[in-house]
């Protein structure tokens, strides 16, 4: 009976591992789905603007 219980435990451990791995795959897909999207122009525009603002500042050092 103890053995049976142990077997059951082993089985569910393997099962848990399998499910865990599957969830890991899916998590990566959720993340990558967004990471693969083209970056909206707004981001680059904002960064450009911030960069320009900096270089037009009088305190900007040697450029």
């Amino acid at each position: 009976m103890n053995k049976k219980k142990q077997l059951g435990q082993q089985k569910s451990d393997a099962d848990l591992k399998r499910r865990g791995a599957k969830i890991g795959d899916q998590l990566r897909r959720i993340y990558e789905e967004v990471a693969k999207e083209e970056v909206p122009d707004e981001f680059l525009k904002l960064l450009e603007e911030a960069d320009k603002k900096k270089s037009s500042m009088p305190s900007a050092s040697d450029e």
């Binding site: 865990g20 998590l27 990566r28 959720i30 993340y31 990558e32 981001f43 680059l44 904002l46 960069d51």
Partner: protein, 200 residues
């Protein structure tokens, strides 16, 4: 200034920060489910990173550094309301439509919903390590806690997600499922009361 050796020039910094934008967006999206709020957060983090560029040390991990900034922005007082995002049916639908395999998409949606039910510290640990492919050490640095803490959060989060997915065979839209059940119960109760009410 010897410090200058450890600093990137602005052009290099900008180039490297630009390559991180997709990651900032992905991390932000997993923290707040609403896509436009997430982009708002990612933009904010990007600009904060740019403004803090002097404090970045060349040769260190810029991704972890930028993620820390994003995370701080997320937790800032201003964003308190962002942390509890109810399931937005439009977002759910968009997820379904964007994927070619419907049963696959349903599974991903179920996982997203399960993630939303996790405490935010567990969720971010699982996202950084499980989805973003960060090392435990990097995730610990970003979250400002011990490596062991991250490990245990990831493991608890994984277990919880498996349990949530299992306890909810459809896994889909558990919140409205629950309220639909409750609504049904309420209606039955009312019907019962009406039936029992003395007619005279």
């Amino acid at each position: 200034m010897t410090d200058d050796r450890n600093k990137l020039d602005d052009a290099t910094f900008k180039k490297e920060l630009t390559t991180l934008i997709p990651h900032l967006r992905a991390f932000a999206r997993s923290l707040c489910r609403d896509a436009s709020l997430a982009d708002d957060l990612a933009q904010d983090a990007m600009l904060k990173a740019w403004n803090a560029r002097d404090s970045f040390l060349a040769g260190t991990n810029m991704k972890a550094w930028a993620f820390t900034i994003l995370r701080n922005a997320f937790y800032s007082e201003k964003r308190r309301s962002w942390r509890r995002q109810p399931l937005d049916p439009e977002v759910a639908e968009a997820t379904l439509v964007s994927n070619s395999n419907p049963s696959d998409a349903l599974e991903l949606l179920a996982l997203r919903n399960a993630l939303a039910l996790l405490p935010v510290d567990q969720k971010e640990a699982l996202i950084l390590v499980g989805a973003g492919g960060m090392a435990y050490e990097e995730a610990a640095e970003i979250c400002g806690c011990a490596v062991g803490t991250i490990k245990s959060r990831v493991s608890r989060a994984r277990k919880a997600v498996i349990e949530i997915l299992e306890s909810n065979s459809t896994g889909y839209n558990s919140d409205s499922g629950m309220s639909a059940d409750k609504a049904f119960d309420d209606i039955m109760k009312q019907a019962d009361e009406i039936a029992r009410a003395p007619t005279s």
